[in-house]
Amino acid sequence: MASARRRSRSVQRSDAATGLDQRPRRRQVAQTTKKPSLVRRLHRPDYQIILWVGLLMLLGLIVMYAIGPQRANVLNATHHTTYYTDTYFAFKQTLSLGLAAVAFVGLSALPFAWLQARAGMIMTVGFGLCALLFVMGNLLHVEAVAQCSLGACRWFNIGPLGSFQPSELLKFGMLLYIALFIGARARQGVLDDYQQTVIPVVLMTLAALFFVVVLQKDMGTGLALSAIIASMLVMSGMNKRILATMLLGGVVLIGIMIAIAPHRVERVMTFLQGDDHVAIGDDSYHIRNAKIALGSGGLFGLGIGNSIQATGYLPEAINDSVFAIIGETFGFVGAVAVLVLFVLLLVRLLKIAERLPDMTMRLVVVGVFGWLGSHVMLNVASMIGVFPLTGITLPLLSFGGTSMVFIAGALGLVFQLSRYAAYQPIDEKESSHHEITSSRRWIGRARYASRRRH
């Protein structure tokens, strides 16, 4: 691993030398000075990202507003206060969205090269914080710092700011670092090399999974992390046989993970036995009520303010279960609309990725695709009862917190990278063949060129 980091550092240096850290102006062509590389066109970013992200966030805010009174009522009754007002959650969500917007704008402006140079550091900090959390929570039991439940410590308490989940930072660091690593290996032509590429990636992944799944007992984040890395590996163009081998290994690993942890066995049993599950566990209650929320919503839903499941029946109504509340409030139409928005965003991410000339950039965008996609899939799948509960949030819609800020930041980064995208899918071989000509014509049509024909 240490050698991998050293190798990657050299890659970073060479990338830093390309002058990417200079703030490029619109439609300016950044010339490569050293070794001839891809021509980088800079142009307007892809505003569709903002459109879909904005719509999803707005929808989340509407839901917070809609069920705010119910949630406030439940919490006030539980804690015997009048602290929570009807608009408390909508207000807090607005603040979270503000924070998310800052993260989005920040990462869309922060030069990618600067970020690349610190990818290793970010990942290291992510690992470090996860280790610190384990020490504080599981070993020293400092409840003031580490938030634990049932022996799983996943959050740091950060006073008035709420809580921070270090595995989110780890996810982000892993995404950046592995994109960089695979990008470099691909450029060196050793993408399919077990020694140089496959095994280091697998080891890094296992290290991260050890912290997340074994120490934090967070299968959901583990699956998301796996999905991020798997998406990047698939997109990298790695040999199918290697990918299949890793998939097989992953499945076996997941099987072992489930088998050794009783709470996961319970979740799987809950899932498999469905409504007939005898034990009145929290999970089966959770899933049953999520299904009731969705099913009773019907085609058009009960309407804003009419959610009954949010009055305390459905656990985590504004966080993990927000999709079920959307289904109850806005019905099939609303639930499908949310899925469609996510699909539009995800497909957009792939579209950007396939048109990015640089492998690292491409992998970063696909990593974000894997991140967003896995969160959406895992969350929705558990709500509709086709996958066990993993306790993962629905990105951009769930109430506040670390995950919102990080996913917004990641999307901000994609937004930045979208400025480099060509208007037509890039073929690695062809473009590298033409790169010496420094011609833009082979990369793709000028914007709107195709429309002019109509």
Partner: protein
């Protein structure tokens, strides 16, 4: 192979994402459209809760003169329950409940706070409003209150056997509470409503149904609390005087059949039900306990003879102190009044031979023929309604038994005995009601304890008159009998009566039957009489009975003084005017 690899891989990822999304959409369509009704019913069974809106049980009033006054009131107490799924602070709940309502909690109630799979566990009963407020102030999660009404008795144990009581499940037991349970109870309402997880009703949706409770009716008894109190006092005094263990009395208005007082000793305190050891003390013996009335019935025999015209007060017969009926010989308790004596004389001295003579004269003059027996049965059973349920609005009324001449048992010997009150089973209320008809001009008023109702605003509506039967005997027959009964009293016992009033009465001393045989060492003393202004229909009829295990209690010596005590008080209470 390498050409368009990126596009291929991107399409592969897109296909995975889109494929999963398609599965989700299909699944959503299945759940939200096809299985919508199923999930709605699931939601309803979880979210809709049904609450019982308890009807307030009707209160019971007595009369204070003519004004209703509360005899049985409701007090709201609370049943405290826990929802184990919501309760979190078990220790705090235990501490608060023990501190505030330690006397009302269930034994070892901590276990109910954590009972799995239950949403409702009672942890304390009969918590007062004040205690409930103190508990509510602690804001314990998962603790709820059900208001329950409990009966309270501002007059203590007054008329307890008339009232009966309400058991723990809210059902009327004994007496008025049992007999009028439906009317008093009212109809519980129902609130079906969508609630939040803590069962707090929500106004969401259109599935909320409210059917308000209809409170029970407030009833006013004909029992006059003053008369009742006096009678109970008189019984206690009488019991002390005579040593009788069981004493009973009925006071009714002969002009309308309304019962003004009904009392028995021993009795019980309805607010101290747990302390009742002798269940028979819950019974109102004046209606539940038929007995052989004895000589009081001689008034009925005389009334029958007079109404039939076979005797007058001055009719004579030859008294030999014994008379033969078939194979038995009947004697008199008081001997020596032999010779040709009048019927008035026979009544005054309570001579059995005189009554058998009347029965014989109802026949062919020498024998109690079938015709005589039919006549007696007609008067006793059909007209004076002895051996029939009076229909009094109280639980546990017994019918008694008058054997009809159509039965083999209803022979001449039987009817000779019946002429002086043996061989028949009747209740004190039956005798009092029949006697009232006898002396009021011949109208039988079905006895009642219901004076009317009081609505929510406190307006007293009088009950409709109950059934009456006119011409039980001819008015002049009634006048004649009334005078004879008056004479019977004044002949021996009138010394203690308030002067200037018209009082009449007849003693009775009946042997009791043990193991099918009359025993003389254990007798029941009774007194049946009336009182009122001179020249008017009497204002009250009083019947008294005293008895005790192994005690020979006499009508004249033991029951009569109690009658006199009550009678003199009644004259005063009813403000009757003496003959100037």
């Amino acid at each position: 192979m390498q050409r368009h690899l990126t596009t291929k891989r991107a399409r592969f990822l897109a296909a995975v994402a889109l494929g999963l999304m398609a599965v989700f959409v299909v699944r959503l369509a299945y759940m939200q459209i096809i299985r919508h009704d199923y999930y709605v019913s699931q939601a309803d069974s979880e979210q809709i809760k049904q609450f019982v809106l308890h009807a307030q049980r009707g209160e019971i009033y007595a009369l204070d003169g003519s004004t209703p006054t509360k005899l049985v009131m409701n007090e709201t107490v609370y049943t405290v329950w826990a929802d184990p799924m919501v309760v979190t602070e078990v220790d705090k709940v235990v501490e608060v409940m023990n501190r505030v309502a330690g006397g009302n909690v269930r034994d070892n109630f901590r276990q109910y706070l954590t009972r799995q799979g239950s949403r409702y566990q009672v942890i304390a009963n009969k918590v007062s409003r004040k205690q409930a407020e103190l508990i509510k102030k602690e804001k314990l999660a998962g603790i709820g209150f059900d208001a329950v009404t409990q009966r309270v008795y501002p007059e203590g144990q007054l008329a307890s056997q008339v009232l009966g009581f309400v058991d723990a499940s809210g059902v009327g037991r004994y007496g008025f509470e049992q007999a009028n349970d439906k009317v008093l109870r009212g109809t519980d309402g129902v609130l079906k409503t969508v609630t939040d997880v803590r069962s707090v009703p929500l106004t969401i949706g259109n599935k909320n149904i409210k059917q308000p409770a209809r409170n029970g009716t407030n009833m006013v008894l004909t029992i006059d609390r003053n008369v009742q109190a006096k009678v109970e006092q008189a019984l206690r005094d009488g019991a002390r005087r005579t040593g009788a263990t069981h004493v009973s009395a009925v006071v009714m208005n002969p002009q309308n059949g309304r019962v003004m007082a009904m009392a028995n000793l021993p009795t019980y305190d309805p607010s101290q039900l747990a302390k009742v050891t002798d269940v028979s003390s819950l019974n109102n013996n004046t209606i539940t306990n038929p007995y052989e009335p004895g000589s009081d019935i001689k008034t009925f025999t005389v009334a029958t003879g007079i109404d039939k015209g076979v005797i007058t007060p001055q009719s004579t017969y030859n008294n030999t102190d014994k008379i033969k009926v078939d194979d038995i010989t009947i004697g008199n308790a008081s001997k020596g009044q032999t010779g040709n004596i009048t019927m008035q004389h026979a009544l005054n001295w309570s001579l059995n031979t005189g009554m058998v003579t009347v029965a014989q004269r109802l026949g062919n003059g020498r024998y109690i023929t079938r015709q005589a027996r039919d006549t007696m049965y007609e008067y006793f059973h059909d007209r004076f309604r002895l051996g029939q349920l009076t229909g009094i609005e109280l639980a546990g009324e017994a019918k008694g038994n008058i054997i009809s001449p159509t039965q083999q048992q209803g022979n001449a010997v039987r009817y000779s005995n019946m002429s002086f009150g043996q061989g028949m089973d009747v209740t004190m209320l039956q005798v009092s009601a029949g006697f009232s008809a006898m002396i009021n001009g011949g109208t039988y008023y079905a006895p009642t304890v219901i004076a009317g109702t009081i609505d929510g605003k406190g307006t007293f509506s009088r009950a409709a008159a109950k059934t009456k039967y006119t011409n039980i005997i001819k008015p002049q027959s009634s006048d004649t009998v009334r005078e004879m009964v008056h004479q019977a009293r004044t002949a021996f016992y009138a010394g203690n009566d308030t002067p200037g009033f018209y009082i009449g009465g007849k003693t009775g001393t009946s042997q009791t039957i043990e193991n099918g045989k009359y025993i003389y060492s254990q007798t029941v003393g009774t007194y049946l009489g009336f009182g009122g202004e001179v020249g008017k229909i009497p204002a009250y009829v009083i019947m008294v009975e005293v008895s005790g295990k192994g005690m020979a209690l006499q009508g004249g010596q033991d029951a009569l003084p109690i009658f006199t005590d009550i009678s003199n008080w009644m004259i005063n209470y009813l403000q009757l005017q003496p003959k100037g």
